[in-house]
């Protein structure tokens, strides 16, 4: 039982548990908080996979940014206080069935395959390599991404303007 295995299992439990809590909470605000926990767990998984930069980005953007704006959205709209689960959710049975079936199918496919169990060695500073790749090979998507975020920002501002 190496550390990575233990860490993996702990993080998995954390992740899955908080994900379940997100979708099953009656209180929307609680759900958001559980989401924050799930996103943090994901960051931990990234750490396990030697993607430190991504873990940081995850924490900053996801766990920080998105949670914040979701909270704001909740505050602006109503229906904060939770009621019974059936009133906040519907078709629980069939939804669960479909999701479970999908999961079962995917898992069964995965279990049949021979997948590598040891990672291939990666040398070098991953962060540095990441930066170089982004700015050389993938510079076009990078620029487009910037464009996209600009558009999103403009759009959000436009949407959220006060009514005339």
């Amino acid at each position: 039982m190496t550390l990575s295995v233990v860490a993996f299992w702990v993080l998995s439990v954390l992740l899955v548990g908080s994900a379940l809590a997100v979708v099953l909470s009656k209180n929307l605000f609680h759900a958001v908080l559980w989401l924050a926990l799930a996103l943090t767990g994901t960051a931990g998984v990234f750490l396990l996979l030697n993607a430190e930069f991504l873990a940081a980005v995850q924490l900053l953007l996801y766990a920080g940014g998105i949670i914040t704006i979701v909270v704001f959205a909740i505050v602006v709209t109503e229906r904060l206080i939770g009621e019974r689960l059936s009133q906040t959710s519907r078709g629980l049975g069939s939804g669960a069935l479909v999701a479970a079936a999908l999961l079962a199918v995917i898992v069964s496919i995965l279990l049949q395959r021979q997948l590598p169990s040891t990672p291939l060695p990666q040398t070098g500073d991953l962060t540095r390599m990441l930066g170089e790749q982004v700015l050389t090979t993938y510079v076009l998507p990078f620029e487009l991404l910037a464009l996209l975020m600009l558009a999103a920002m403009l759009g959000a501002i436009y949407f959220a303007r006060p009514e005339e």
Partner: protein, 99 residues
């Protein structure tokens, strides 16, 4: 842990997110489910990248995160706008496309 484990983990989170999207009544709740699904995708990508020895997956993940952020922003802005117009965020009430 092998790639399988990470993939199974990601699949689990994905299906939970799907469950949330399908069943939640509150629109913001649906958006939370979508976040979970995208998260699972990210885990998948990073796992592949890690086990194949390249960083392509990580680059992909970076981009995905950024796009997801934009999408969340716009989506929530829409929710707010919808609330202003229709005074509700219940997805059940948004059925103008009903046949």
């Amino acid at each position: 842990m092998g790639l399988q484990a990470y993939l199974i983990l990601a699949a689990t989170v994905f299906c939970i997110g799907l469950f949330g999207v399908v069943t939640r009544r509150n629109t913001i709740g649906i958006l939370l489910g979508i976040e979970l699904m995208l998260n699972a995708v990210n885990i998948n990508l990073v796992a592949f990248s890690h086990f194949s020895g390249t960083i392509t997956g990580m680059v992909f993940t970076l981009f995905t995160i950024c796009i997801t952020v934009s999408e969340a922003a716009i989506g929530l802005a829409l929710v707010i706008l919808l609330f202003r117009v229709r005074r509700t965020v219940m997805a059940d009430h948004l059925d103008l496309l009903k046949g």
